[in-house]
C-alpha cells in the first residue's frame, strides 16, 4: 500500500531532525555549542536545489557534491575556530547563520526572499534518509564507546588532564566540527528534497531551538536521547490540535528552560543506560551522578 505524501514527509522530517540533533550533540559532548550545522544545512540545501534545478545535475551527484563542499568548508572553519573559547564558538557560529540568511536574501539567482523551488523529486527519499540515520547511529555509537568518545567527553570536563594524557585536543576538535558540519549538510539536502521550496528564514533560530531541545531532553551524554525523543517531541505539535501547533516554539523553549532547571543532564544519561542494560558496557559519563 502506498504511503501518503503527508506521512512520508513527516517521517523524512523526523529523520532530518535526528541527523541535525546528532550534528549538534557531537560538539556539545566536547563542551561546545556549535550552531554551524544549520549554516551547512542552508548551503547544502541551496547547493542541491540549484545544481539539480538550474544545472540539471543528477540528484546523487548533487547530493554527494553538496556534502563534500560542506565538509571541506566545515574543515576550513574548524581550523580557524579551533583556538576560540566555547562562548566565542557559539556566537561565531550563530553569526554564520545570520550571514548565510542575509546573503541568500540578497541573491536573486537563489530566489532571494521569494524562495527557491525545486521540481525534481528524490527517489527513495524515505529509504535514503533512514539508511543514513542507521549508518550514522552505528558509526556514532562505536565512536562514543571508543577511546575517542571518552577523550571527547574528558575534553569538556578537564582539558588539562586531556593534555597530560597526551590527547590531541586540537585534532579532536577539528574532526568533531568537520563531521558535524558534514552531518548538517546531509540533513540539509534531505530537508530540501522533502520540503520542495526553500526560504532563507527556514535556516534560522527555529532549527537551533528544535535541535537543542532534542539533544537536551534526550540527554546530551548519549546519542540515544536524540533518537528516542526527537520523534516524540516533533510529533506532539504535529498530531495535537492546531492551536497547540501554533505554539510549537514556545513549547520547545519552555521545555528547554524547565529541563535545564529541573534535570540538566536530560532524560537518558549514561547512568540510565547502565541501569537498563547492566552489561551494555556503557562507561559512566564524567558528569553523571547516580540517582540523577
Amino acid at each position: 500500500m502506498a504511503m501518503s505524501a503527508y506521512l512520508q514527509g513527516y517521517l523524512v522530517m523526523v529523520g532530518v531532525l535526528i541527523l541535525l540533533g546528532w550534528s549538534l550533540y557531537l560538539p556539545l559532548r566536547a563542551g561546545y555549542m556549535n550552531n554551524s550545522p544549520i549554516f551547512f544545512m542552508a548551503i547544502s540545501g541551496y547547493f542541491a536545489a540549484y545544481t539539480t534545478g538550474e544545472l540539471h545535475w543528477a540528484i546523487p551527484v548533487a547530493f554527494a557534491a553538496a556534502v563534500a563542499v560542506c565538509f571541506l568548508l566545515a574543515l576550513l572553519l574548524s581550523l580557524t575556530l579551533v583556538n576560540v573559547s566555547g562562548f566565542a564558538m557559539a556566537v561565531a557560529t550563530i553569526a554564520l547563520v545570520f550571514i548565510i540568511q542575509t546573503i541568500i536574501r540578497n541573491l536573486e539567482f537563489l530566489g532571494a526572499a521569494a524562495g527557491f523551488s525545486i521540481y525534481s523529486q528524490m527517489p527513495y527519499l524515505l529509504t535514503v534518509t533512514y539508511v543514513l540515520v542507521v549508518l550514522n547511529l552505528v558509526f556514532l555509537n562505536r565512536l562514543a564507546n571508543s577511546r575517542f568518545g571518552r577523550a571527547l567527553e574528558a575534553m569538556e570536563y578537564d582539558p588539562e588532564v586531556c593534555d597530560a594524557l597526551g590527547i590531541n585536543r586540537r585534532s579532536l576538535s577539528i574532526f568533531v566540527q568537520a563531521y558535524s558540519g558534514g552531518l548538517g549538510a546531509v540533513a540539509g539536502v534531505l530537508y530540501t528534497f522533502n520540503v520542495g521550496t526553500l526560504f532563507p528564514e527556514m535556516f534560522g533560530f527555529n532549527f537551533v531551538l528544535y535541535g537543542f531541545t532534542m539533544v537536551l531532553v534526550g540527554g546530551r551524554s548519549t546519542l540515544w536521547g536524540v533518537l528516542i525523543f526527537g520523534p516524540v517531541l516533533w510529533s506532539i505539535p504535529e498530531f495535537a490540535p492546531p492551536w497547540i501547533g501554533q505554539w510549537r516554539n514556545i513549547m520547545f523553549g519552555g521545555i528547554i528552560v524547565l529541563l535545564l532547571v529541573l534535570r540538566p543532564k536530560g532524560v537518558i544519561t549514561k547512568e540510565t543506560l547502565r541501569r537498563l542494560a547492566p552489561r551494555s558496557g556503557a562507561t559512566p559519563a564524567l558528569g553523571d551522578q547516580p540517582g540523577e
Partner: protein
Amino acid sequence: MTGSIYVLAAVSVTFLLLVAGFIEFAHGEVVVLAMYCTWLVLSLAGENLFLGLAASLAAATLLTILLEPLTRRLRHARAATECLIMTVAFGMILTEVMSHSFYHGMPVRFPEVMRGGGLDLAMGVIHISAANIYVVAGCIAVLLLFRWFLYRTRQGRAMRAVAINLDTARMLGLPVARATLLSFTITGLLAGVTAILLAMALGFTSPPLGGVLSFKVLAVMLFAGMGNFLGAVVCGLLLGIIESLITGYFVGAWTDAIAMGIVMFTIMIRPDGLFGSKV
C-alpha cells in the same frame, strides 16, 4: 546613535557576566518586550510618557530578575554552555509571545511623544532629530551614573569585589547572593533604559529585533574581549559606525552580513578580542 545603544546594552551584559558569571543571550528580547510594554501603556493611558517609561523599566527589570532563580543551579555548577542555551530558549519564548500577542508580529509604531515631538535641529545642511540627541545624551548620562554607582557607592564596591574575586569577597563577609541579585536588577533597569532609548531612536519595534540586538550585543562583547568594559564602549561605537557606513555605501540589505563578517574575522584572528578578555 545606534552605536550608543550597542554600548549601553553591551555594558549591561558585561556587568552581569562579571558579577554573576553569566552570559545573558536574551538581553535583546528583554529590551524589545519592554518596548512593547511601553507602546501598550502609551496606547492605553493616553500617551502618558511617565507611565510608558515606568512600564519599560518595570517589565525589563522583572524579566531579568526572573533569570536569576532560573539560572542559579547552572551558574553554581559553572555550566556556561547550558546557561547560554537556556537564555537562547528564554529569548525565543519572549519573541514568540510578542509575535502571538501584538498584531501577529507586525511592527508597531510609537507615538510622536516618544520621538521627541518630531522636532529637528538644523545646523546648516545637517539636520538632527531631537530624538537622536536625546538618545546619545541619555546613553552618556546613564553610563556616567552607572560608573558613579560602581565606584562611589558601597553596593557598587561590593559588586566590583565579587566580580574581581568571588572567594575573597565571600571571605570578607560580603553578601555575595545579594550582590548577584542586585546585578540582575541593575542589568534589568539598564535594559529598560535601553528599550526607551531604542524606541526613541527607531520609532517602531517588532519581535525579530530582539534576536538581532541580542546577537549584536554579544558580538560587540567578543569583538572587544569578554568582560572588558572599555572595550565594549569602543567596539559598540565602532560597530555602529561600521553599520552606518555599510548602509550608506552598499546597495541592498547587506549591513548585518558584512558587520557580522568583520566581527567573525576579528574573532578568528584575535580569539580574545581587540582589547583582551578579562574573564
